[in-house]
């Protein structure tokens, strides 16, 4: 999901930076004192998750975990993911510095979307809440793949082709992340529901 340096055209990079900046501002504004530590830990999880690889045919893809980050953080997913991406860029060489904005939007955008799509279903009974959690984990990866296609459509390859390829490559990741998200939600519902959306803090 990390788009490398030198692939994107100028306007796409600028647009990505603008959107990522706005998202981060909203996220920081909404971030209250009690959730700073939680944001940091999820940011660290996201940072490390990219090293967990799932072999897919000749290539391999890595976990993203933007679903659970978005579900638990809402808009604060933007600063969390931005920080993690900066560090992945510097330390791992994933993505790039100019493409930071675009990559942030690619991964944090779906996170926020899924937060609002599924967040309200989390406090419901287990069949519904677990399905919602699975959907949140899987769809946030799916949307990220669509976003990658959108970002690349302006530069080189055709949208359907790219998005299709990214979605196909990430199908196992979607399933795995759906399961991880459902597992996390089930666990947190039992022990600390206040971390989840829809519960009184």
């Amino acid at each position: 999901m990390h788009i490398a340096e030198g692939v994107l055209s100028g306007p796409v990079i600028a647009a990505g930076m603008a959107v990522a900046g706005a998202g981060t501002a909203i996220g920081l504004k909404q971030l209250d004192f009690d959730r700073i530590a939680q944001t940091g830990i999820l940011s660290a999880s996201f940072f490390v998750a990219s090293l967990v690889h799932v072999p897919v045919g000749p290539s391999s893809v890595h976990l993203i975990l933007n679903g659970i980050v978005g579900l638990m953080l809402g808009w604060a997913a933007f600063p969390a993911i931005l920080v993690a991406l900066v560090l992945q860029g510097i330390l791992f060489g994933f993505g790039g510095i100019t493409t930071l904005g675009v990559n942030t939007v690619i991964m944090a955008g779906p996170a926020v979307i899924c937060h609002y799509l599924f967040g309200f279903m989390i406090p419901k009974k287990p069949p519904i809440s677990l399905t919602a959690a699975f959907g949140c984990g899987a769809l946030s990866v799916f949307f990220a793949a669509i976003f990658v296609g959108l970002a690349l459509v302006f530069t080189q390859e055709s949208f359907i082709e790219v998005s299709g390829a990214v979605v196909a490559a990430n199908l196992p990741v979607m399933i795995i992340e759906g399961i991880i998200t459902a597992f996390c939600v089930a666990f947190l519902k039992k022990v600390q529901p206040s971390l989840l959306p829809g519960y009184p803090g």
Partner: protein, 261 residues
């Protein structure tokens, strides 16, 4: 909520984090960053490209561009991510390997790395030029010329200078060839090093940075929060009943122990 469940909650949350950490333990695999490394051997440039920590870029699109943006060479890498091409001319060459879907990497070959003879199609051109005067091969055998013979228009010293220059060039060429040969394994080794994936240090450095940022954020937020703290506690945050003081060890017991000792 009571005190005990709250206590368990914290432990459970900690366990949850440990589970996440275990799930996220990095596995040896590959993806996502493409590293490209290219070196020159004679008139050929070798390119190696890999995803971070291992696998070669299978059928990656290779483009070699000059500084002015003209595309000089295009091609595809083999299964191990390797590609070789004849150097078209002596200039800065930017080798880009793209695996599609926004993944690509590049490496630049500087003109200094390409030896002068490599850019030309025929490395024997120099020798040919000197041939009308004296064959370079025989010239390298005998440096002191016993009898130069009659040479119209050229003095002895001039001939000697020409021969020496030709020999020097020949030497340089051979030395370069030899050096390239010897250095190739070293370059390959360097390429491998260059392509190492993230290390444990990188991972911990990143996590450390994030925790540090959390600290900074908490500090900033706590400063912002101070005036607000003066107002009475709102309904937010459940407060259990007061924790009863842990009863101290009865005096009698203490004394008994002292007596025992």
């Amino acid at each position: 909520m009571q005190i005990i469940p709250k206590f368990i909650c914290h432990r459970a949350a900690a366990r949850f984090l440990i589970i996440i950490a275990v799930m996220l333990t990095p596995l040896p695999a590959n993806a996502h960053r493409i590293t490209v490394f290219a070196w020159v051997e004679g008139s050929t440039a070798h390119v190696e490209s890999k995803f971070s920590a291992g696998k070669g870029v299978n059928e990656g699109k290779v483009t070699v561009t000059a500084p002015d943006g003209t595309i000089l060479v295009t091609g595809k890498t083999d299964k191990s991510g390797a590609f070789s091409f004849e150097i078209p001319r002596r200039t800065e060459l930017t080798v880009t390997v793209s695996a599609g879907l926004g993944h690509q990497g590049e490496w630049t070959i500087r003109p200094e790395e390409i030896s002068e003879t490599d850019g030309t199609a025929d490395p024997t051109a120099i020798i040919e030029r000197s041939e009308p005067l004296l064959p370079a091969t025989s010239a390298s055998e005998e440096i002191p010329m016993p009898e130069p013979g009659p040479s119209p228009g050229l003095s002895r010293t001039e001939i000697r200078q020409i021969i020496e220059a030709a020999m020097e060039r020949e030497w340089e060429r051979r030395l370069e060839g030899k050096l390239d040969e010897k250095l190739a394994p070293l370059m390959r080794f360097l390429a491998q090093q260059e392509m190492k994936g993230p290390t444990v240090q990188d991972i911990f450095a990143g996590i450390g940075y994030i925790f540090g940022l959390v600290g900074v954020a908490a500090y900033v937020a706590s400063r912002r929060r101070k005036p607000a703290q003066e107002r009475p506690e709102g309904p937010k945050g459940h407060k259990g009943p007061e924790v009863p003081e842990v009863p101290e060890v009865p005096e009698g017991l203490k004394e008994e122990e002292e007596f025992g000792a």
